[in-house]
């Protein structure tokens, strides 16, 4: 699980002050995480970029209202998750879902050039299994098991109770276990 980098000191204050450079630093620091969550949730690179841009635009607009109760990263994940779930729930997804194809390409584009065919197949299967999870469970798995957020942060980002987060995470893991049973080591 990747560790979430802490926001640079004073970044929130600089953002609140409307410093353009501070916003650029924010985007550079969190672009991959925001994009990754959107991509895992939507399964489309183009749509994920669109959502990620929308997330940062919202941050730019509303950073003045950010109280700082939660970590800046949690706030970003919360916005990203909300935008993704809203988009998934709405009928606005005009962009053709690349779905499995995009995720499978992602599996093939792993930097590990020495990966065997079997490893690639396993990676494709995992991506497919995650993509096929129900959205409410998928977002928990993405935030918790892939992005490495704590239960509290996931609960804060999704506006859920920690118990609900654990319950959804457990069901998601059990479902993945059953789907990937033949490929598990």
């Amino acid at each position: 699980v990747r560790e979430i980098p802490a926001a640079p000191a004073g970044l929130v204050e600089r953002l609140r002050a409307g410093e353009a450079r501070a916003f650029e630093e924010l985007v550079r620091a969190y672009q991959h995480r925001v994009f990754a969550v959107a991509f895992r949730m939507l399964g489309s690179g183009a749509e994920a970029e669109e959502v990620a841009q929308e997330v940062f635009v919202r941050v730019h607009r509303s950073v003045g209202t950010f109280r700082g109760d939660a970590a800046l990263s949690t706030w970003l994940y919360a916005i990203t998750s909300r935008v993704c779930l809203t988009r998934l729930a709405s009928g606005e997804r005009k962009i053709a879902r690349e779905g499995d194809e995009a995720l499978l390409r992602l599996a093939d584009e792993r930097p590990d050039a020495t990966a065997t065919i079997e490893e690639r197949e396993r990676a494709r299967a995992l991506h497919r299994a995650i993509a096929e999870l129900p959205e409410d469970r998928r977002v928990v798995v993405v935030l918790r098991d892939i992005e490495g957020l704590s239960y509290d942060d996931v609960a804060a980002a999704l506006g859920l109770e920690v118990g609900t987060v654990k319950s959804r995470l457990h069901r998601a893991r059990m479902e993945l276990k059953d789907r990937l049973e033949k490929l598990l080591p």
Partner: protein
Amino acid sequence: MTCSEVRERFLDLEDGALAEDERRALDAHLATCASCREDLARYRATVAWLHTVEPVRAPVGFVDRVLGTVAPMPWYRRLARQLLFPLRVKLPVEATALVLVAIGVVYVFQRTPELQQAARVESLAPGPPSPPAETAPPPPAGPGTPGRAPSTDAPGRSPAAPDVASQTPAERGAGSSVSGPHGSAAERKSARAVESRDAVTPGRSDRRAADERATDAEAGRTPRDAPQSEALRRPGPPAPARSGEERAQSPSRSGADPSVESAAEAPRERSTAPLDAPPRSPGARAPAPMQDRAETSGRSTGEPRVERRAEAPARSTEAPSSEGRAEPGARPRATPFNAPPESPAPRTTAPSTAGKADARSPSTAAQPQVASKASIPDAVGRVSARDPASAESQIAVLAVRHGGRVVSRRAGPDGVVVEVRVPRDRYRALVEALGDLGRFTPEREAAALPPEVWLAIHFD
């Protein structure tokens, strides 16, 4: 602890969040249940696998695109973005804009007479009120002249040869209003609208008829009541009477019947003689107010159209008695307005019109070619030029340039009228070229143009 209870605690077990007693109970179950042990192993492997998922990276240039998005934009770009970017906003806005544009188009159309005039290609410019044409006194009765033979009327013509040009505009409108092969749907609709309007508003056509009579009078022609009786001079059996509505509803009989269009090539004959000559009038002329109305429905000039009727014998089967509905008190009509000219029946059943026709017979008998030219142009327009004389002189050049020719020139009641014949495929180009001479206003145009379009141009 059951297997199900054990599996429900896998997550807490992995997180180390189980209480001590729960942990002991779970371990005791796992020690005795191989299935749960294997399941726990797979669960742990799955979680471990999830933790090794490769991170996804944002595409190159993403930061620049984001910064470009949030950069201050001009107000118009912000406005456009707000209007167009969110789909839930864009769709209603665009739909509303579309509706507004449509309303605007309709409003402009209704407020712009020129547009309406252009749309109603078959309609005429409204004229001053005048007595109904049907009630106009017929010309003095004279010695009756039997209908002329078809051979003299249209020598060399083949009755079976289709010729759309031989149709009057009204007939063409009727023919094309529903199923005519020529003309667009809009033209057919326009023609149908004009015909129906004329059928129910006799005053309108009456005014036209009066205008035409005035034109004829100024031009030294006989009054325009000839069309009523021209049908009587045509060969062929008299056709059964049919109402104007029937004619309108069965256009195939007028527009598609080969015999109808076999009439003849009268336009070419007409083009060789002065148009203001009195129409050659045969003897029998049945009163046909509705026929006159139908003819005037597509006419704005005073040219008589007698021979057009005579040259379409088969059309006599169409709408002959439509006048009965529009003018119940009209003179007795025993013959369809398009009745064959050679039919003796009209003469015997319509003595009044026969006399009227006889009044013309001397001149028409002496000038057979003149009568064949008595018809209405396929299109009528008006040129308002600063120097009408100069514009008029350029008509011939334009006509030749577009493959046509000037067939006549005469002084009408409201100016000079130059008539041109031009191939249909060059007609539009000629009309556009007329705009160079001055302000050209199309006043009427047949729904289906013949191969050689007969265009009457009025010069103000």
